[in-house]
Symmetry: C2
Subunit: 205 residues, 2 copies
DNA sequence: AACTATTGTCATCACCTGTTGACTTGACAC
DNA sequence: GTGTCAAGTCAACAGGTGATGACAATAGTT
């Protein structure tokens, strides 16, 4: 289960509770939509305090992005199952206090402030770990895997495009896994013995 | 050359000039970043007038999206070259007054107002035409092609992720073409005689 | 010439945003 | 007690937003 469960326990410091509330807000709304006043209200604290705790809205967002990324969660499994792991991140059901690594990313790339933060996180928390896990994959291909996941996430969860929603998720997931696999294996396939990629071994229907 | 060149001729009505200025603004900045005052200033007209001309900012945005989509431009070519056409849309160099269909889309998912508009445009101006052009392709796969293009566009032009920028565009483009091709042909390949997709005949380097 | 839309401008409203500085409260130390 | 530092509150500022309604100018029609 790849989500991060966010518990706003009363044992946490107020700063931590603010950060967790911000993660939840940013994962459901865009950077611009999310106001410091909203976050403050969630925690039950004065808006001025959340500002003073983090220095600025952008810094709060930055901390939220980095805390939500958690690359070790996505890239600690078997290298063979990476495509499948990444794809299932897309379809993970979100409980009340759970967010996916993707969530914040797909809501907030618009604002210049946000996209600066996201660029760094993309390289350090996704492309980097992926390259380390799969040495053969080029940076380009790793970035395209991210692009595919992000695009699918946006169309599904932000735009709520019908074909990616609801019925027959199994088939959809299978297509995505296969595409990611081909995206990652592409070079190896053309240089290897056969023109065809080896059939991905997960027939998870 | 798939871009739309926007000429703000003095022959156009003021309303048309406003719309074209809005298209340019929305293609370079997000929905939230773009103010009616900016658009008005570009045209040299009072901000109140652009509001009254289109009823609301959202309606102006809607018209800009629909005017920029121009599906006939993307889907009028050879069905065999569709993947290549779509991919080259990503890499089309933008002149001063040119925008790609993608541009407005990739800037402005954030706001709820914008994403409602974009959902409709996605289905009517992309998925629909693609299905008509390639009967075998499922709605899911068509939407995933859009997701891939949008994701790549965002990472490249909004986030400006390094691996998708600058050097060796030819290789990048080839990977994208192949991925789109596989995305569209996936079903046919598994049901057809051979396991391998026919090699895409465009060695466009 | 007089009437009438259309085209466009002006000042301004109501609202919301991140940010700031001054203040209060509480706990702990000496 | 008194001094000190952190935690948190309060009211307000400065700037920007889309939206309005009242007004001016222009052009076309009869």
């Amino acid at each position: 289960m790849p989500q991060t469960t966010i518990k706003i326990g009363s044992g946490d410091s107020t700063r931590e509770r603010i950060l967790k509330a911000a993660m939840l807000r940013f994962s459901a709304h865009s950077y611009e939509e999310t106001g410091l006043r909203d976050v403050a209200a969630d925690v039950g604290v004065d808006p001025a305090y959340v500002h003073r705790c983090f220095g600025s809205k952008e810094k709060l967002f930055l901390e939220a992005v980095r805390a939500a990324a958690r690359p070790e969660r996505l890239f600690s499994g078997d290298a063979d199952e990476l495509a499948s792991t990444l794809a299932s991140e897309l379809f993970a059901e979100r409980g009340e206090n759970e967010i996916r690594s993707l969530d914040i990313v797909i809501r907030s790339f618009s604002s210049p402030a946000a996209s600066r933060v996201l660029r760094d996180s993309l390289m350090e928390d996704f492309v980097g770990p992926l390259l380390r896990k799969r040495g053969q994959v080029s940076e380009k291909r790793a970035a395209l895997v991210a692009a595919f996941l992000i695009g699918a996430g946006i169309l599904r969860d932000v735009v709520r495009a019908d074909p990616l929603l609801g019925q027959d998720e199994g088939e959809l997931q299978e297509i995505i896994v296969q595409t990611i696999e081909e995206l990652m294996n592409g070079d190896a396939v053309q240089e290897g013995d056969a023109r065809c990629a080896p059939a991905p071994d997960h027939r998870g229907r």
